[in-house]
Every structure is written in structure tokens, then in C-alpha cells.
């Protein structure tokens, strides 16, 4: 049995769910994948909790806080894997960028769902990981639980993806769905999204399209081999979509959706589009959809939960298994 000591950076909703699933799925991880993962460090901006014997999830974790410099621990804490789930900063990469740099620099594999470091320094980080010969995986950074990047990496090496289209932000999709269903204006629909916990107090990353644009950058760089930055994505949010526009679109068989698109060359875009209601891109509520158009086999479309703590945690766990399991990602029963 391979013991895997995980240093967990950030302890928000995704990290807590990941920690919980790690504990509840322990038997499966041991028997199918041959790994015995345990969280030996939780590092937040307010301090660190370190226990080489492993930290169980739950409130007692918070009671055992030890003083320690947060980001510096990525350069020193004894672990086999770093999981970065710190808050996203699309402008600078945030603390997650430094954590990832330092961990990869030490030759420690990194799994992240943090878009910031990927948007700011995709090339640098992937090249560093390659130079050090360690996995650097980030399935959870795009479309939550949907296996977008792993599908490409593991299932499509015999084909070339030439274009990616999708709906990559569940919050804006929820707002647009509610506007169409209930005839709500943008502001009331946003209020409802806030009440249900789908939108932040400051919803701009979601409704102005920046979150979706960050995912476009990751998909373009990783799947299409481009070298895009956030500023390269022409981004228009959904604030201008009025109830009147919604009604007209609906009358003529369309939905309005915040569609992300990028190809092998040409412009990358996130913008509201008329989507035929019969289209596979017309998903409702908080769902995400990703469509790969391929060179030799047409299109593949994936629909699923694109956000949420537990949902995204499953993508993180998949990467952890892939990065550490001696039996490979598929595993086998013993």
C-alpha cells in the first residue's frame, strides 16, 4: 500500500469536501487504487495545521492550529503531493502561483483546481513540472466535475481537437435560465442566485464573463496547444441581457447563453449568444457543457455539474489518484 501524504493549501468548500471524500472513500482508494492518502498539512492564510500522522476532517482540525508562514510551507512541509485549492486570483495568480512554483521546484507533484496560476503562468508551470518529471494536474480548474481535460489527455490522443465550445460558468447560466423561465430581469435573477449560494456577493467574475474566459485560456493552452492569456479572450458578460431580449429569443426558438468558444487559431471569445433550444449547448440551471470538435471524429459533448464543493472535489480526487496510484488512474480491485 502506497502512503500518500497530502499538503492541502486552502480550506474552503472544495477543500473541505475533498478532505471529507478522502476519508469516506478510504477503503476504495486502498483496494482499487492501492493508495492510502492522508492530509498531513492544511495551510490557510490564517495559519497552518500540521500532523504527520494525518488530520481527520472536521471541526477539530481548526482547533489544532499551529503558527506558521502559509506560502513558505510549500517549500518545506514534508509531503508527497501538494493540493492547491487557495482562492483564485486571475490577475496575479495569487498565492497559489507561488505555492505551485515552490512545490514543483522541489519535485513534488501538484494537483490544483485554482485557475489563477494556470491563467497567469500555464507554460512556465507545465514546463517546470516536465523538467522535474512530476505530475501537474488541474482537472478541477475547468467545468467542475466534468472530466474535460482527462477526456482529452487520456481518451483522445489519437485524434486532434480543433475547437472547443461550451458553457463554462454555472452561475451565469443559472441566471439566464431563471430569466427565461420566470420572465425575471437580470437583477432579480442575480438576487435569487445569491440567495441559493450560486453567486458571490461580488458576482462580477461570473456575470462579466471573466471566470469563463479563464477556463477558455486553460482549454486553449492545454487542449489546443495555444499560448493565450486572459486579455486575448474577447469577453462580454450577461449584464446587458434584458428581459425583452430573453422574450424575443424564446419566441423564436432560442435561448440566450454565455457561450465560450476557441479554435486552433483565430479569436477566443466569451459572449452571450442565441442558442437554438434544441441545441446540445442549451443546458439549464447551473449545468456546464463542453463540446470538443475533432479533426477525424466529429464532436463530443459532455454535460454535467460545473461547480460546487463536492462536485469539484471529485475532479481533484481523480487527479490525486492519477498522480499517485501505482496502478494507474483506472486501478484494479484486489
Amino acid at each position: 500500500m502506497k502512503r500518500v501524504r497530502i499538503a492541502l493549501f486552502g480550506y474552503g468548500a472544495v477543500a473541505k469536501a475533498f478532505h471529507q471524500i478522502l476519508a469516506s472513500d478510504r477503503d476504495r482508494l486502498r483496494s482499487i487504487h492501492g493508495i492510502d492518502p492522508s492530509v498531513v498539512a492544511i495551510v490557510r492564510s490564517s495559519g497552518a495545521w500540521i500532523d504527520p500522522a494525518g488530520l481527520a476532517p472536521g471541526a477539530d482540525v481548526l482547533a489544532r492550529r499551529k503558527p506558521g508562514a502559509a506560502a513558505d510551507l510549500a517549500a518545506s512541509v514534508a509531503c508527497d503531493l501538494v493540493v492547491d485549492l487557495t482562492p483564485t486570483n486571475l490577475a496575479t495568480g495569487g498565492v497559489g502561483l507561488e505555492i505551485t512554483r515552490r512545490a514543483l521546484g522541489r519535485g513534488i507533484p501538484v494537483v490544483t483546481a485554482n485557475k489563477g496560476p494556470l491563467v497567469v503562468a500555464y507554460r512556465e508551470l507545465t514546463e517546470l513540472a516536465r523538467a522535474k518529471g512530476v505530475p501537474f494536474l488541474f482537472e478541477g480548474s475547468v467545468a467542475g466535475a466534468i472530466p474535460t481535460l482527462n477526456l482529452h489527455d487520456r481518451c483522445l490522443p489519437g485524434n486532434r481537437v480543433t475547437r472547443v465550445d461550451g458553457i463554462l460558468n454555472g452561475t451565469s447560466n443559472f441566471i439566464l435560465t431563471r430569466m427565461a423561465e420566470e420572465g425575471l430581469g437580470f437583477e432579480p435573477a442575480l438576487d435569487e442566485a445569491r440567495e441559493l449560494g450560486y453567486a458571490e456577493a461580488d458576482p462580477s467574475a461570473d456575470v462579466d464573463g471573466h471566470d469563463a474566459a479563464a477556463k477558455v485560456v486553460i482549454l486553449a493552452n492545454h487542449v489546443l496547444g495555444r499560448n493565450l492569456h486572459l486579455g486575448d479572450v474577447a469577453t462580454t458578460g450577461i449584464r446587458s441581457v434584458s428581459g425583452a431580449a430573453m422574450r424575443l429569443a424564446r419566441e423564436r426558438g432560442y435561448a440566450i447563453r454565455l457561450v465560450a468558444s476557441v479554435g486552433l487559431d483565430g479569436p477566443a471569445e466569451v459572449a452571450p449568444k442565441l442558442v437554438p433550444r434544441s441545441s446540445e449547448l442549451n443546458v439549464n440551471g447551473t449545468l456546464n457543457v463542453v463540446r470538443y470538435t475533432t479533426e477525424h471524429a466529429g464532436a463530443f459533448t459532455l454535460v454535467g455539474k460545473g461547480a460546487g464543493g463536492r462536485e469539484t472535489a471529485t475532479a481533484v480526487l481523480s487527479d490525486v489518484i492519477q498522480a499517485t496510484s501505482p496502478r494507474g488512474a483506472a486501478g484494479k480491485a484486489t
Binding site: 425583452a244 424575443l248 429569443a249 423564436r252 459572449a271 442565441l274 437554438p276
Partner: protein, 165 residues
Amino acid sequence: MKVEYLVELRDQPGQLGLVLGIVARFGANILSIVHERERARGDLVPVRLALDVEEPAVEPLTAALSAEVRVTTVSGRAAGTSHALLLVGHVFRAQLGDFTDALFTAGADVRHVRAEIEHKDKPSAVLIEFQSPSARVLADARERVEALARARGLVVVPAIEEAAR
């Protein structure tokens, strides 16, 4: 098989030659060519071309013709694809007619215009549905509309490409 194209050609030298060059490239045999000058729209003259062409060549021939000239019908069926776009903002203050003119100028056919005005002080919305004979015309039409919308402070919400129905 016999295929009849109704195309619109600009009333200027070289247009028919352009079409016949394409027809020859696909090995089609010309059965008849009729200019319908009485139905001309401005300097666009409908021309009816009856061809004898191998079946597998029909689709690429239609695409090649559409890339150069406006193909109205193929054996009586409407050619081209339907598209739509929404304009959001103070559309009527922004001279809506200029937008439909831009589409016509690009070679698209505007078929329906629907508007909804929520309140005199609130942004309104206009849905324009149009027919485009080729991808080139569609791209040009969108470019013209988007440039105009930017200049007039409107937001354009175009249909995704698969919206062609």
C-alpha cells in the same frame, strides 16, 4: 442528374464567366442559361442555370458557387441558411434601418424583424432574422452589424453557427 440553379449576378462584365468557370471545374454540362432581366433588383440580375452534373458533385459545386455569387435556389429549394441576431440597447434611437441596410449590403436577405420595448427609458431589443447564401456573406454581414452596433452603443447577441436551420 439535372440541377437548376437560380443565382443573382451583378450586371457587369465577367460575372457569368466567373460562374461558368466554376461549373466547368466540376465537370458539369450546361443545358441552358436564362437571364431574367425583368426581375432585376438594382444591379442584381437573376440568372437561371440548368446543368447536367454528377450527383456527388452537386454539393461541392453549390458551395463553390455560393462562395462567389448569391445562390437563391437549387432545383427550386431555397439555398442558403437562416441566421438570427439580437440587438440590445436603445435600438430605435440608433436608427434600426441602418442595421437592416448593412445586412442587405453584405448580400444577406432580411426576412423578419421583431422588436420589444419594455419602457421608453429602458433598453429595447430587436431580433433580426436573415438568410445568408454563403459563409462569406454571413461573416461580412456580422462584421458590418457589429461595427455599426459598436459605433451606436448597442450590444449584438448573434446566433451560434449551428443555428442555421
